[in-house]
């Protein structure tokens, strides 16, 4: 047992520390989607939650609405166009209380009940440009030829406030020979201008319960936010934004008070309130928004400059986190039973990071880049994490019952000690005076300092030159005779042992004919040999040369003994050492 269990546990040692259980991984699930097109709901009212995915398919075909149960695909149906958003919501109070599925695509919302098509909502058409209508009217009467039509439409396109209809844009994209045909084919019908849905969310109607009836909230390409009645699909409220909404977050209840937070394509977040036709607050982001999540009451936006930014609900900036890689998608982790909310961020480096406020609390490594994340109740498990990857894989993980997220950052950063406040003493009167003086006389003080600094440098330079000139330094300055010397004094007196360590530091030339001479006060010291010849110095070797010095005085005085290394026939020493002799203590004792 020991053998098998230890081998399996060592290969999974990383997994053992993980907060997640790997429930399912299918790299070939063929699911291509984004976080906005994923939802979890108890579709059949049997307590087993299903996964609803708007699958974008590959290259814009085989779009499907897929429903997963457990680890397998339970049903799928074809979608006519690419889905922009998928959500589930309760339309009415009728029993059984099974939620409907809403799929937004193009200008439509397809509503499914019991997974069967139930209703199709179409966005109201927009007013077409009157100039554009005039021009087409003339074309219909054959008053202008296609080329003139083209020129006039181009003029309108470049100047007008109201953009051209899809028909005119398609006409402008035609090759000249086909224009005639196109005009004849389409000139009969009136011009329609249609917008499309960019994002969708839900808003509780008048109760805060988990299973309350909800309105759909949609953002459109015409920069509007619409709130739809859950049963009649009439427009209950319309708000206009300065830019096209890309991500929506809604909280509150329609009949009471609500707040819609919208991240727009102009790189701003707008916050709308009930009864406000225009945004109440605006947050200008540092880059394009890539995702928007509300954590409790704060807003967290992921931006294309690889940052995560936290704001209060009134738009005050709280923090910025720099991500290690570009952000792919983000979603909320809501651990309901513990009241714990965090942001999950899918990154381009195949990692999913979890942030509690600005603290990184967990990292999940995946086989592929994660493009969509959804956390919630799935099957019968409350804390399930569903992710799909760029290559179409499906990853399902379950948060361990015992997992705890520490509220401190796991990424390397400044040590904890750094954030502890020091009890700095109060500023004294002296300190304040001093700072005042420094502030007032900054220039003069700087001058004085500079002057002293130059003086110091000058003195240092002079001393250096002098040392070089008189060969006072313990290293020779001539390149022909590179020699190093240091001297050691041993003993307590009256006899001292003096050891000179001489070393030839040249690369390969031995030094010969060197003399060593001592200069000292003859009334104080006596030396057997004050002048002798040094042996031949082989390069690199250290030559200890020992002599004995006798101290003649018993008055406790000491002096300097100078050592010179000379070259035969030259009076200028190659190098000089000053030995500070210690006071002779031995004599006093004797």
């Amino acid at each position: 047992m020991a053998a098998t269990s230890s081998s399996s546990s060592s290969s999974e040692s990383n997994e053992a520390n993980s907060k997640w259980l790997d429930a399912h991984y299918d790299p070939m699930a063929n699911l291509y989607t984004f976080s906005s097109c994923i939802a979890l709901a108890d579709l059949h009212g049997d307590g087993e939650y299903k996964l609803v995915v708007g699958d974008l398919g590959m290259a814009g075909h085989t779009m499907r609405l897929k429903v997963y149960r457990g680890t397998g695909l339970a049903s799928e149906s074809t979608l006519l166009d690419l889905p922009a958003a998928v959500t589930t919501f309760l339309m009415d109070q009728n029993e059984p209380r099974t939620p409907a599925v809403a799929v937004a695509s193009g200008p439509f919302i397809y509503v499914y009940k019991n997974l069967r098509p139930y209703f199709k909502f179409t966005l109201p058409p927009l007013d077409a440009n009157p100039l554009e209508q005039d021009v087409w009217e003339q074309a219909k009467e054959d008053m202008i030829d296609p080329l003139t039509l083209k020129e006039m439409l181009e003029g309108i396109r470049d100047k007008a406030e109201i953009p051209l209809s899809v028909r005119s844009l398609r006409f402008l994209a035609q090759d000249v020979p086909e224009m005639e045909n196109f005009v004849n084919l389409h000139k009969g019908q009136p011009i329609k201008r249609q917008t499309v849905i960019t994002c969708m969310s839900t808003l509780k109607k008048n109760m805060a319960d988990e299973d309350a009836v909800s309105c759909l909230v949609i953002g459109t390409e015409s920069a509007d936010v619409l709130i739809l009645d859950p049963e009649a699909f009439t427009i209950l409220a319309k708000m206009t934004l300065p830019s096209v909404p890309a991500f929506l977050d809604v909280m509150g209840q329609f009949d009471v008070e609500y707040r819609v937070t919208v991240a727009c394509r102009d790189g701003s977040i707008y916050i709308l309130r009930r009864e406000s036709k225009r945004p109440k607050y605006c947050i200008e982001l540092s880059a394009q928004p890539m995702g928007l999540v509300r954590v409790h009451k704060n807003i967290v936006a992921g931006c294309s400059d690889e940052t995560l930014q936290g704001y209060t609900q009134k738009g005050k900036k709280l923090w910025t986190v720099y991500l290690p890689a570009p952000l792919m998608t983000m979603s909320l982790l809501d651990h309901k039973s513990r009241g714990f909310q965090a942001v999950m961020v899918g990154l381009a480096n195949q990692e999913v990071h979890m942030y509690l406020d600005k603290n990184l609390v967990d990292v999940i490594r995946t086989q592929d880049v994660v493009t969509s994340i959804c956390f919630g109740r799935y099957g019968r498990e409350d804390n399930t994490l569903i992710m799909t990857s760029k290559g179409g894989g499906l990853i399902i993980k379950i948060l361990k019952r015992t997992a705890v997220f520490e509220e401190k950052d796991m990424s390397l950063g400044p040590p904890v000690a750094q954030s502890i406040r020091l009890s700095v003493p109060k500023k004294t009167r002296l300190y304040v005076d001093q700072t005042l003086r420094e502030r007032e006389n900054a220039v003069a003080m700087h001058h004085v300092f500079q002057m002293d600094l130059y003086r110091l440098r000058l003195m240092a330079a002079r001393a250096y030159v002098k040392a070089l000139e008189s060969s006072l330094a313990p290293i020779t300055s001539t390149l022909q005779e590179p020699i190093k010397m240091n001297a050691v004094v041993q003993g307590i007196g009256p006899t001292f042992k003096l050891t000179l360590h001489i070393q030839n530091t040249s690369a390969g030339r031995p030094s010969i004919n060197l003399l060593v001479s001592f200069l000292y006060d003859q009334s104080l010291y006596a030396m057997k040999r004050a002048f002798f010849k040094a042996p031949m110095l082989v390069p690199g070797l250290n030559y200890p040369i020992e002599t004995f010095v006798e101290c003649l005085s018993d008055k406790g005085i000491s002096d300097v003994i100078k050592v010179f290394v000379l070259r035969e026939g030259q009076s200028m020493p190659l190098l000089t050492a000053h030995i500070n002799m210690p006071v002779s203590e031995g004599l006093a004792a004797a």
Binding site: M1, T4, S5, S8, L21, D22, A23, H24, G47, G70, T71, G72, S337, Y378, G379, R380, E381, D382, I396, I398, K400, R401, T402
Partner: protein, 186 residues
């Protein structure tokens, strides 16, 4: 007196009492299984998810079982360990059709087996791979593989495929458990 007890036991007058813990994830069918093991006149018709736990009793040919039917819901699972000391045997129920949560069942089983009150005891464990009647149920062999049951070397264990609605497979399991408990006592 000891002789009298034994005699009574042989004659089936007084049965030995054993305490059994019934564990497993929510919706695995614990309550349904226990209910089926009771005499038919004591069975209930509607079974609802257990809150906290409930105590049930049933008898076999030679033993009198007192079962702690624990709730398997996540928020009640931390109650289990408080009863480990009293348990003389464990019935662990798995929903063999819930492939998604097999990892959760394994995690709970591993936590159980490494608990100090269980770890060093030779306590018999009976596994029911329940709901075998469902179409997407996996075999009992597969269940024991997914839960790595082969790693349990210091406790007697046994796995039975079961269908608690019809009562299939339950008797085989309980017979095994009875043998184990009697072998343990003598």
């Amino acid at each position: 007196m000891g002789l009298f007890d034994k005699l009574a036991g042989w004659l089936g007058l007084k049965k030995k009492e054993v305490h059994v813990l019934c564990l497993g994830l929510d919706n695995s069918g614990k309550t349904t299984i226990i209910n089926k093991l009771k005499p038919s006149n004591a069975q209930t018709q509607d079974i609802v998810p257990t809150i906290g736990f409930s105590i049930e009793k049933f008898k076999t040919s030679s033993l009198s079982f007192t079962v702690f039917d624990m709730s398997g819901q996540g928020r009640y699972r931390n109650l289990w360990e408080h009863y480990y000391k009293e348990g003389q045997a464990i019935i662990f129920v798995i929903d063999s059709s819930d492939k998604l949560r097999m990892v959760v069942a394994k995690e709970e089983l591993d936590t159980l087996l490494t608990h100090p009150d269980i770890k060093h005891r030779r306590i018999p464990i009976l596994f029911f791979a329940n709901k075998m009647d469902l179409r997407d149920a996996v075999s009992s062999v597969k269940v024991s593989q997914l839960l790595s049951l082969e790693n349990i070397k210091d406790k007697p264990w046994h796995i039975c495929a079961s269908d608690a609605l019809k009562g299939e497979g339950l008797q085989e399991g309980v017979d095994w458990l009875q043998d184990q408990i009697q072998a343990m006592k003598t």
